[in-house]
């Protein structure tokens, strides 16, 4: 089965049809996607800007990271659920959209970057110190995170314009 045929099959699911045909479901789920994005990526931006030493400099970086993490993850859960629902309703258009493919690629890269940060960079002994200026590896991972998530948002907003 080709990807397009699979996507067309998905669009026939009762849930997909219900979302696509309802006047309010699609925009409301998109709104919830945006709110989840503001919480998850917004708080992640604040964490990244702390790691690069731009904001909240008087609070230890690892403290900011640990305190905001559950909220960031909760926001991401909301984004992935709402994103999945939106995908169902527009699957065949999205699988042929180049800008959607770019969005997925940037999400994967951001995920790899987060895993590298979590399991390699943050495990280094120097990262555990409460210092105002952090090691270069941390700053680099934070800048990569800021850049990649910005690209995800840009690609996401461009889907209706370029698909």
């Amino acid at each position: 089965m080709s990807l397009v045929a699979l996507a067309e099959h998905v669009e026939q699911w009762p849930l997909a049809i219900a979302i696509a045909e309802s006047r309010y479901a699609f925009p409301l789920i998109e709104g919830a996607h945006l709110i989840g994005l503001s919480v998850a990526v917004g708080l992640l931006f604040i964490t990244d800007l702390r790691l690069t030493g731009v904001v909240l400099k008087r609070i230890p970086a690892m403290h900011v990271l640990h305190q905001l993490r559950p909220w960031v993850l909760g926001g991401f859960a909301m984004i992935f659920i709402t994103g999945g629902l939106l995908f169902l309703a527009e699957a065949s258009m999205l699988v042929t959209s180049a800008v959607f493919a770019w969005k997925l690629l940037f999400i994967v890269l951001a995920g790899i970057n987060a895993a590298y940060f979590e399991f390699v960079v943050a495990k280094r002994p120097v990262a555990q110190d409460d210092q105002a200026v952090l090691p270069a590896g941390m700053k680099f991972a934070a800048l990569a995170s800021l850049t990649l998530w910005t690209l995800v948002i840009v690609c996401g907003r461009l889907i209706p314009y370029l698909s």
Partner: protein, 157 residues
């Protein structure tokens, strides 16, 4: 001058022509700035709210969290208002008569009033009354989230 005449005058202005006659990617660019601004604004609001409710960073002074979060909030507000105004100016008649747009603007005026009349004052205290803090955070977040939802509805109604 009636509202229709004002809207026509805006739509015929040089800046409106410059935007509406430009490549459609200019409109897409404004949308991107609008979304990024909204994310900054809401993230700052959520951060202050979580701190106010003692859900995060409760050992850090409110003043430290508030100062940087407010900066974030202001950057977000300027980005959303500027990009939003330019989008409106380009096609005012398209937006003005839409219920979702009217609702969004009404909620926006309410949110700003609430932000400066109440939220700021509560956040300025090191230990505000917990019930008052919870109520302020709850109402503020509902109104700001409502703006996001109404905003997304504009393109579909």
């Amino acid at each position: 001058m009636s509202i229709a005449e004002i809207l026509t005058a805006i739509q015929d202005s040089a800046i409106a022509h410059a935007i509406s006659k430009s490549n459609h990617m200019v409109a897409a660019g404004l949308q991107i700035v609008h979304v990024m601004g909204f994310i900054f604004l809401l993230a700052a609001l959520v951060l202050i709210s979580l701190r106010l409710l003692n859900l995060v960073m409760k050992n850090e002074p409110m003043s430290v969290v508030r100062r940087d979060a407010n900066r974030f909030f202001h950057i977000g507000l300027v980005l959303t208002v500027l990009s939003g105004t330019l989008m409106f100016v380009a096609t005012p008649k398209l937006y003005f008569y839409k219920f979702a747009f009217e609702l969004k603007m009404l909620l926006f005026v309410g949110a700003i009033a609430l932000q400066f009349a109440l939220f700021r004052r509560i956040a300025a205290q090191e230990s505000p009354h917990p019930v008052l803090a919870r109520a302020t955070v709850g109402v503020s977040l509902i109104v700001w989230f409502g703006i996001g939802l109404a905003g997304r509805m504009i393109g579909f109604t």
